[in-house]
Amino acid sequence: MAARIFYEKDTMTVFLDGEIDHHSAAIIRAGIDEAILASRPGTLVLDFGGITFMDSSGIGLVMGRYRLLRALGGELVMTNLPESISKVMRLAGLEKLGRIEEREVTV
């Protein structure tokens, strides 16, 4: 699973799809971090629209990107959260790490 990344002004949007578990998280993390460090976005949008499964490794992935972003002075936005992962997100309190936006984006 490769994350597709798009830029608009100083916003970097990552379209995640497939399953986020410990196996896939390492690959996704590497792609996102490389892009963050190269572009230093003011806002990182994580779009979960294509995610079909996520466990605590996904929580760790979001928390880690939040920390990296905050260290660089950026903010985190999470969008298009599917019903299937909302339970795990709520349990982890991820809504406290950034803004949750409801929106329909197609690229």
């Binding site: 466990d55 605590s56 929580i59 760790g60 880690g64 339970k87 349990l91």
Partner: protein, 144 residues
């Protein structure tokens, strides 16, 4: 209590098997006609337990993970995930939300997820010998 159906499977502790393990267990429980939410709950809990075997039980080696699932009264599924890895010295502490022995990118929420997504979670562990996590859930299903 006697089970009405049972399956067992053994796999190597390779991260690529995480997806296979959770799909295999949920496919077995499909006979109880679970809701999509119940399927997702079981999938997530199994993923947590299996990932823990891969990440924590066998940190530097590839070991074996033993999974079994039993159905009771055509209603309840009990899943056992066992490893013969390093074991857990303090189970109570390990199960506290946000506790992780690894830090870094781990949230320390695996057991918290298992406990909130399943009806019962039991952990037995002997340091140096291995760990068994037992997950139980009553399937309420679609029409009730």
């Amino acid at each position: 209590m006697k089970s009405t159906n049972e399956m067992k499977l053994t796999m190597e502790s390779r991260s690529v098997n995480e997806g296979f393990a959770r799909v295999a267990v949920t496919a077995f429980t499909a006979q109880l006609d679970p809701t999509i939410e119940e399927i997702n709950d079981i999938k997530t809990a199994v993923s947590e337990a299996v990932t823990n075997c891969i990440v924590h039980a066998y940190p530097e080696t590839v070991g074996r993970i033993y999974i079994s699932a039993s159905i009771y009264d055509n209603l309840t599924v009990r899943i056992k995930i066992r490893d013969s890895g390093v074991g857990i010295p303090d189970i109570k502490k390990a199960m506290e939300p946000l506790y992780t022995s690894l830090g870094g990118e781990r949230a320390g929420l695996g057991f918290a997820v298992m406990e909130s997504f399943m009806d019962k979670v039991r952990v037995r562990s002997v340091p140096g010998k291995g760990t068994t996590v037992t997950l139980e859930k009553k399937i309420r299903g679609r029409d009730e």
